[in-house]
């Protein structure tokens, strides 16, 4: 009796140890992508050349894992790094990178209003690129045209928004990044 009790406790401990929960909440229109949210869910996603790429948290006893991050320095710059994995293909991943420079107080105020502030990639202070990985090299391809919209939600300490752009690398491969969305916990410096 004691032995079976011990086994049950051991089994429970193992289940607890390896317990992890998929934090992916699908979009109601395109369930391949995460839902657009503004509550700091630490998730992002986009259709890249018509394939779904996502980053979302995995909840486990070791914490919440999400590979994307946002940085800001001295309130005048913002850096976005979204490490996106192709759904159902764990070895296919890309990084979507954005850098916003020379931000002003007006920009931050506009980021709090409505659906946020749109930053065009035609602006020289706004850089966007897609970084692809292969065994030979990591290749960054700058965005040709498109935008990133950023909404700052101070109440939930979240930075959310949408993005979309096109890019073409030196060998002529074209990237179409569509229906991009992100929502991460963000602490303004």
């Amino acid at each position: 009796m004691k032995k079976s009790g011990f086994k049950a406790i051991l089994l429970l401990a193992l289940v607890f140890l390896f317990y992890s929960c998929d934090g992916f909440i699908p979009d109601p229109i395109n369930p391949r992508l995460p839902v657009y949210s503004e509550s700091g869910k630490n998730q992002s996603g986009a259709m890249i050349n018509n394939m779904p790429f996502v980053d979302y948290p995995n909840y486990s006893i070791f914490g919440t894992e999400s590979s994307g991050y946002l940085l800001n320095q001295a309130d005048t710059s913002l850096t976005f790094n979204f490490h996106l994995v192709e759904r159902n293909k764990e070895n296919a991943f890309v990084t979507i990178f954005f850098s916003l420079e020379k931000l002003t107080q007006t920009d931050w105020e506009e980021m709090e209003n409505g659906f946020g502030k749109k930053f065009s990639l035609d602006n020289p202070d706004v850089i966007g690129k897609i970084i692809t990985y292969s065994e030979q090299e990591d290749l960054g391809t700058p965005a040709e045209s498109g935008q990133i919209t950023v909404k700052y939600i101070p109440g939930t300490n979240a930075l959310a928004g949408t993005f979309g752009f096109t890019a073409m690398n030196n060998s002529g491969k074209k990237y179409e990044v569509r229906f991009g969305r992100f929502d991460y916990i963000f602490q303004r410096d």
Partner: protein
């Protein structure tokens, strides 16, 4: 507020009947559901799910025994299944339903009914709480067979009158353009009802 008013009004109406023939039943069955929309989704197909509920039926006018009023309280799962790149993604929408209706027995053992569903959104496997509207209204029409037996059969078709989705209109490149309200449910229910006959209810 309006939802509460309708519920209270209906129960007050029942209380007005001092004593009468009432039938209480338990109902369960399967339902096929899908959504109608304005081109928002690419390809969708319907999905099968379940419902479970209870109802009470009274004959309010003694001179017209064929005419009755019935109210269903049902837990029902509606939804739709988008088909994208050859894969299916099931979207479940759970509702608690309050459905008052008028029922008329054409012949013994064959009745028709019609009414309005007031559905309260309870949860979904997609989106956030704010993605779907809290309330949905739908009109329905149905048929009951063998209603005088202990076990009867019913089928019902309901058509959403109000949209269930309240979400963002996201352009592929330009991002959010505004908000959209769309997706109207269509549900066909098939089920069995366990009747408790000739219950006298004193309110």
């Amino acid at each position: 507020m309006r939802y509460k008013f309708i519920v209270v009004t209906f129960f007050v109406f029942f209380i007005q009947i001092p004593e009468g023939f009432a039938q209480v039943g338990m109902m369960f069955g399967t339902n096929y559901s899908n959504v109608r929309h304005d081109g928002l989704l690419e390809k969708t197909q319907g999905q099968m799910s379940l419902h479970l509920g209870a109802n009470i039926e009274v004959v309010p006018i003694k001179g017209i025994p064929n005419l009755s009023l019935r109210t269903d309280l049902i837990l029902v799962q509606k939804g739709y299944t988008p088909r994208l790149d050859g894969s299916r993604y099931r979207v479940n929408l759970e509702y608690g339903s309050f459905a008052p209706m008028v029922k008329y027995a054409i012949i013994e053992g064959f009745s028709i009914h019609s009414g309005i569903e007031f559905n309260r959104f309870m949860g979904s496997n997609v989106g956030e709480d704010v993605t779907f509207r809290k309330n949905e209204k739908a009109v329905f029409f149905g048929v009951d067979l063998f209603n005088s037996k202990r076990l009867s059969f019913y089928t019902r078709a309901s058509f959403g009158l109000t949209p269930v989705l309240d979400y963002y209109d996201i352009d592929p490149i330009e991002g959010i353009q505004g908000r959209i309200s769309d997706l109207y449910t269509t549900t066909i229910m098939l089920g069995l009802q366990l009747n408790i006959h000739h219950e006298k209810i004193r309110f």
